[in-house]
C-alpha cells in the first residue's frame, strides 16, 4: 500500500513538472511548480526524512511561489 502511494506521488511530481513547462499561463506554471515541491515534501516524509520535508514545505512550496509571483508582477507590463 505504501509503495502505491510513493508511485502516485512520483507520478504527480512528473505531471506537475510537465505542466509547469507546458502551460501557457505564467501564473499557472508557477502554481504547478509549487505543487511539484509539495509532492516532493510528502515523498520525503515517506522516505524517512522529516526535517528535509519541513524545509521543502516551507521554502519550496510557500516562499518560492511568493517570490515567483512577485517577479512576474514586476516584470510584466499589462495585467494577466
Amino acid at each position: 500500500m505504501l509503495e502505491l502511494f510513493v508511485y502516485l506521488l512520483c507520478g504527480s511530481i512528473l505531471v506537475s513538472g510537465i505542466l509547469a513547462v507546458r502551460l501557457a499561463s505564467t501564473l499557472a506554471a508557477a502554481v504547478s511548480g509549487g505543487l511539484a515541491s509539495l509532492f516532493a515534501a510528502v515523498c520525503y516524509v515517506m522516505l524517512g526524512a522529516p526535517d528535509v520535508a519541513m524545509t521543502e514545505a516551507s521554502i519550496g512550496s510557500g516562499l518560492s511561489v511568493l517570490i515567483f509571483l512577485y517577479a512576474i508582477r514586476r516584470t510584466t507590463e499589462k495585467a494577466p
Binding site: M1, L2, L4, F5, L8, L9, S12, V15, S16, L19, S25, L27, A28, V31, S32, G34, L35, L38, F39, A41, V42, V45, M46, P50, A53, M54, A57, S58, S61, G62, L63, V65, L66, L69, Y70, I72, R73, A79
Partner: protein, 86 residues
C-alpha cells in the same frame, strides 16, 4: 476494525490526490488550478498524519503541523496577485 478504517482513509486520500491532479491537468481557468492546489495541500496534510500513525512516529506530525501553518501562504499570494495587489 482499525485496519479497515485506515484502509478506507488511505483509499479516500488516494482518490483525492488522483482527482485533484486530474482537475489540475484539465483545469480550464487558473482559478480551477489554484483550487486544486489548495485541495491537494489539505489532502497532503492528512496523508502525512495518516502515515505518522501507520509508521508509529510522532515526529512526522510536526511536519504536518508546520505544513498546515504555512500552507495558506501560497494561496494568499496567488489571491493577492489575481487582485493586482502583490
Amino acid at each position: 476494525m482499525a485496519e479497515q478504517i485506515l484502509m478506507a482513509a488511505a483509499i479516500l486520500i488516494f482518490l483525492g490526490v488522483a482527482f485533484s491532479v486530474l482537475r489540475l491537468i484539465l483545469g480550464r481557468t487558473v482559478i480551477d488550478r489554484v483550487a486544486a492546489v489548495d485541495t491537494l495541500t489539505v489532502v497532503s496534510i492528512s496523508l502525512i498524519a495518516l502515515y505518522a500513525h501507520v509508521a508509529g512516529r510522532s515526529i512526522y506530525l510536526d511536519v504536518a503541523l508546520v505544513y498546515g501553518v504555512l500552507s495558506f501562504l501560497a494561496v494568499l499570494a496567488i489571491a493577492r496577485y489575481l487582485e493586482q495587489g502583490l
